[in-house]
Amino acid sequence: MVDFLQMVLSGIAVGSSYALMGLGMVLIYKASEVPNFVQGEMALLPVFIAFMLLSTYNIPYYIAFPATLIFAFILGCFLEFAILRRAKEPNILGLIIITIGMEMMLLGFVSWKFGADQRAMPFPISTYDSIIIGDVFISSLDLLTLVVALVIMLTLFLFFRFSRMGVAMKATQMNENAAALMGIKTKQIRMVTWGISAVVGCVAGLLAAPVLVEPYMMWGPMLKGFAGAVVGGMTSLPGAVFGAYIVGIVEHLFGGYISIEFKSVVAFAIIVIVLCIKPSGLFARHYVKKV
């Protein structure tokens, strides 16, 4: 029983990191209707910037982390404004290729600028500390990730429900032409959505960096976040969160009870099953194509 609880708790902890990546992807999917494969690298570059600020320039955390989040926001906006928006009447495939191209450019830039050596980022809390509840452990970093993920989810919920900008974003996502007719600057909204998505992804990156910083560090979380978003539904923010937690928990239970060797691929098996049974995802409304 202790093992089962430990696996569920560990699954929830790792699912929080997937959830942040999944949220970032869904935000962009709703705005631009493209699965965003540059999501991981939109977090990767800011993480290396944070690493540089902390390790090379010895800038304190309370300045380095907010500066990194601002950088992530600008990076997200820049990618939408400078690259994605320039695509002439692109179809979905074209947009996907553009995001893959951006992913390769950012990854190449990080590898060239910072090198391939593995590093660990300084962080205010130790990655080795843990909290014990009965016989079940949770590391302080996992607990922090869980709390931060919940705070971000709540903030996004409040933002979309009550802020003017949030409502404008929802309107743009629902019907861009109608939103534009109502005076909403839809291009600007889409750009800001990319910025917010980059910030959410960057938070996931900053919470993964204390363990290991390396150029490919965000590839795994991005794929798992994508899996979670597909499971929950690419158009549903709560769906992406639940999907990510499902992936995290199932992955751990599968690794613990069935096969640790195939633990990493179980997320993709879940995608296939969900797409066969409910293509729009578990929590999304039935798929409706905008015309």
Binding site: D3, Q6, M7, S10, A13, V14, G108, S111, G115, A116, D117, Q118, R119, A120, S126, T127, Y128, D129, S130, I132, F137, S139, S140, L141, D142, A208, V211, L212, E214, P215, Y216, G220, P221, E251, H252, G255, G256, I260, E261, K263, S264
Partner: protein
């Protein structure tokens, strides 16, 4: 008539001399140059091992600065294969067929190496010092392929022997990377423990893409392992040790030569690597340092390594390059070839290089002693190179405490 005879004779002389010159000229050799090829990942997930090729490059430049080898400079051609066997094959073919390499050196990784092994061997092109401790390089042995990296099997044997006989542990477990490297560690550990009537209490595979190590640590904890062998990459060592500490599971960690860059390991584990016992293939001579003494790779007392640090690394490495085991290993793997090239004299051919390589006995540079023997198709030991390793323990200040002298390990043939 005489005039025509002179023309004909002149023409024939030119043809005969030309043919004779072609027959004598070896691919990749000119009067002033020896062309050597190498691949290595400069990008991609295995890029930290890209330092091997850069280390070789700095080493060759040092040799050139010292005057080259019998009047010839070493021209080093290395390319980024991204640890992708298809790219390795493409790059090797391109360099071999467009420029023409005399020989190939090192080359990181078992999979990329396997992709080009037959290509090189079929053309009788020497390949020296593959940068992976795989049995595939010597079983079956190839006349033109010389291994210098001690096999991973040996690391596991020595680590298990030390854990059982010196530390008195009975419960030993292993986390192994799910590939040739990890599986050799698993096999070496199983065989060694069987000699003491023991079995591994947990054998946990780790996939390269795995980032979350909690399920792995849970299994180790349930197995009550006293020592855990880590036959994984440096990143996974950091993740396993960090997760272990967070879950209050702290066995005696033991690892292979692959994770022997102590300053790097200490940095990425934030000090968690201290106390880890590691197998080592060189960069210090335990016989000279003495058991129980401490050595620092950045301020080495090893005379040859000190020279390489000063004359190769400081003069020829890029400004942002880090001096460490991986970079230095790029020099160590190819030292025997340089020795053989020097012994070949000015009249250099591939066959002569092979003959001189086969004469190498107990050669020692910055690695352990390396020996080869005349080629025998059914004897892997003629191409095994280095068969000794030693153990060290990482200290809290990122140095190495010597635990054993050089120990010869047993070769275990495939499938036995």
């Amino acid at each position: 008539m005489k005039k025509y005879l002179v023309y004909v004779l002149t023409f024939m002389t030119v043809v005969v001399l030309g043919l004779a010159f072609n027959a004598a000229a070896e691919e990749g050799i000119t009067d002033t140059e020896i062309h050597i090829g190498q691949w290595g990942p400069q990008t991609g997930p295995a890029a930290p091992w890209g330092a091997v090729a850069r280390g070789t490059d700095a080493y060759f430049k040092m040799i050139n600065e010292e005057g080259g080898i019998h009047g010839r400079k070493l021209v080093h051609h290395y390319f980024d294969d991204g640890y992708n066997p298809a790219k390795t094959m493409g790059g090797v073919k391109q360099l071999q067929e467009d420029i023409g390499m005399f020989a190939w050196v090192s080359g990181v990784g078992t999979a990329p190496g396997l992709a080009v092994k037959d290509y090189l061997m079929d053309r009788k092109i020497p390949w020296i010092g593959p940068s992976a401790g795989s049995r595939h390089w010597i079983e079956p042995p190839n006349k033109y392929l010389f291994n210098t990296y001690p096999l991973y099997l040996g690391d596991a044997q020595l680590l298990c022997k030390y854990a059982v006989e010196t530390l008195g542990f009975k419960n030993i477990a292993i986390a192994y990377q799910n590939d040739d490297y990890g599986k050799q560690g698993l096999e070496g550990a199983q065989k060694q423990l069987a000699k003491s009537g023991l079995k591994l209490v947990a054998e946990i595979p780790v996939n390269v893409a795995d980032v979350d190590m909690k399920p792995h640590i849970m299994k180790f904890r349930n197995s009550e392992a006293e020592a855990v062998l880590l036959f994984v990459g440096p990143g996974h060592v950091a993740r396993l040790q960090g997760t272990g500490k967070a879950m209050q599971f702290e066995p005696q960690w033991m690892t292979s030569t692959t994770c022997g860059d102590i300053p790097l390991m200490m940095a990425i584990t934030k000090g968690g690597y201290a106390g880890t016992i590691l197998a080592s293939f060189g960069m210090m001579d335990p016989t000279a340092v003495g058991i129980g003494n401490i050595e620092d790779v950045n301020a080495s007392t090893h005379p040859v390594l000190k020279k390489y640090h000063e004359e190769a690394f400081k003069k020829f490495a890029a400004k942002e390059e880090r001096w460490g085991l991986t970079f230095a290993a790029g020099m160590g793997y190819v030292e025997p070839m340089i020795e053989a090239l020097k012994n070949c004299g000015r009249d250099l051919t591939r066959e002569k290089l092979v003959a001189e390589m086969e004469k190498i006995k107990d050669f020692q540079g910055i690695m352990g002693k390396v020996s080869f023997a005349p080629f025998k198709a059914n004897d892997p030991s003629c191409r095994i190179g280095q068969t000794t390793v030693f153990l060290a323990q990482a200290t809290a200040d990122a140095k190495a405490k010597v635990l054993t002298d050089w120990v010869k390990t047993e070769y275990i043939p495939m499938g036995k």
